[in-house]
């Protein structure tokens, strides 16, 4: 039908607009967290007890927090930490998950069966239950949060890597490489990985967004990053304690967080469609 092809074109453009918007927000956020802090006239750690919990004004667009620190400045520093923590966590999870998934798919048999049951087990725990247990045993702090995020994402990446590897494995060029006697590691890295990278990359972008929410959630419950290290979650936890006196700390920090995540999600969405429309279903989780 002609209508469909026309629609498809509109679809592409609109989708590209999504990518563009996502990219724009993400670049802006990245710019803000890298350059922003040095532009701010305020020190993110200097306490000023004469200016506790001042509402938003021209001098402090986001108000001040319970230590008298400019909230916007804290947001810029905090967002940088939150992004880094999420990035580290998702990277770790992606690395472990992809390694596990590809190995399972490639070796198969009992290794695959055992490892995938383990993945299923991880996958069956509500994420905050998983994270809570982890915090109990590892204690609080940045490392623990990174490991928690990684553990949440290991099953996602493992499953995705395994399923896609299974498909690619039987492709002629992989079989050719096998016949040529190339090592398993070489085949996995050289032949398979490039062909399954696209969906993994999309998952990574989306994971980065949700990783920030996990960090924020854990720190919000007091389980995660601890002050004085600024992170968006820590700031929101502090904002929660003084919510009735200074609601702007929690609400505006959260709003900033939402914008950053929105950018990443839009980017991920757009990329997903650009790279392969059929991926939508598989990586929706």
């Amino acid at each position: 039908m002609a209508a469909i092809s026309l629609k498809a074109t509109v679809f592409e453009i609109r989708r590209n607009r999504v990518v563009a918007t996502g990219l724009a927000i993400t670049v802006l956020v990245l710019f803000a967290v890298t350059v922003g802090p040095s532009l701010s006239p305020y020190d993110p750690t200097k306490m000023d007890f004469t200016a506790l919990l001042k509402p938003p004004s021209w001098t402090h667009p986001f108000g001040t927090n319970s230590f008298g620190v400019d909230v916007l400045t804290r947001v810029l520093y905090g967002a940088r930490n939150s992004l880094l923590i999420s990035f580290a966590g998702v990277s770790l999870g992606a690395f472990a998950g992809v390694l596990l998934g590809m190995t399972c798919a490639y070796i198969g048999r009992w290794v695959d069966a055992t490892a995938m049951r383990f993945v299923d087990l991880l996958f069956s725990f509500p994420i905050f239950v998983l994270a809570l247990m982890l915090m109990l045993i590892l204690g609080f702090g940045v490392q623990s949060v990174i490991i928690a995020i990684a553990l949440v994402y290991v099953p996602n990446f493992a499953r995705m890597a395994r399923n896609t590897t299974m498909v690619v494995k039987s492709e002629p060029y992989v079989q050719a490489a096998q016949l040529m006697g190339q090592s398993a590691l070489r085949i996995m890295v050289r032949e398979i990985l490039p062909n399954i990278a696209a969906p993994l990359f999309v998952q990574f972008t989306v994971g980065l967004a949700f990783g920030i929410i996990i960090e924020a959630g854990l720190s919000f419950l007091g389980l995660g990053v601890q002050p004085p290290t600024p992170s968006l979650g820590v700031m929101m936890a502090d904002g929660k304690d003084y919510f009735h006196r200074g609601p702007w700390v929690l609400t505006l920090t959260g709003a900033a967080l939402t914008v950053a995540i929105l950018g990443l999600n839009l980017l991920g969405d757009g990329l997903r469609d650009l790279l392969d429309p059929r991926l939508r279903r598989r990586s929706a989780e």
Partner: protein
Amino acid sequence: MNFLWYLVVRLGGALATIIVGSFLIFLIMQLAPGDPALTVLGDAATTETIAAFREEHGLDQPIIVQYAIWLEKAIQGDLGNSIALAGKFPISELLGNRLPVTIFIGIYGLAIALVISLTAGTIAALRHGKLADTVATSIAVLGISMPDFWLSYVLILAFALSFTWFPSYGFTTPAQDFFGAFYSGFLPALAIAAPMAGVFARILRASLLETARKEYVTAARSFGFAAPFVFMHYVFRNAIIPFVTVVGLQVRYLLGGVVIIERIFGISGMGSLMVDAAFGRDYPVVQACALTFLGIVLTVNLVVDIACAMLDPRRTH
């Protein structure tokens, strides 16, 4: 026969998962620093009282023995008593009080998410590329991008404190007041629903669009069937399968969200129980809660898989 076998295998897998999971949780709790004796004995615990406490609750035995004792009792349906959170309350009583609350809030949230996403996702797909689509999709992505705990506070600030339309704290159980439960549970359910609705709407829209391009749909159209008929019988029915799968997968996130939301809104459900028990080092309660969560996820996944199999007979094999 095939289906029965499938069911047996799945149930067996679930059971194995629960046993392995319970052991892992047991191990983690015991290895974590902290001591339930301190929760109970408080500021003046002494070496003797701590030792007495540990002996009374069998905590002085090796972990593996403790686990064996626990498992034996659990198989007989006895989950033991709370040791640190509240006297010696039977855990079954605690769960009996809490589980219905969490399930109610969870289903309530899920229902809100389904209503929103089915509407928004369908409109977006039907009005594909139009303004309605852009608006619906944008809102969906926004929903996904909002942390639920933040949304909870925003909702409290807006609809419970500024406009006192809803209660800001506490929850009336359905047993106490059926409609009161829907009223008092609305804000927490909405906070849980928002990110889910976003995920659902997106997947439904995508799935509908993809199915609409399938050959059999085109064929059905060319037979001259009316558009609504084609949509309902060919597009929607087929598109709903990935949708249901995703709904099932979201349960894992849903239960995670409940943990935080329950604390914020002062709902005495499983989530707040588990967090409190974990901090109080009430090992058997944490164990019971974690297993209940695990059980819920496994059950939902099983139901979803079966539902998908029902919706699409081809999947059974």
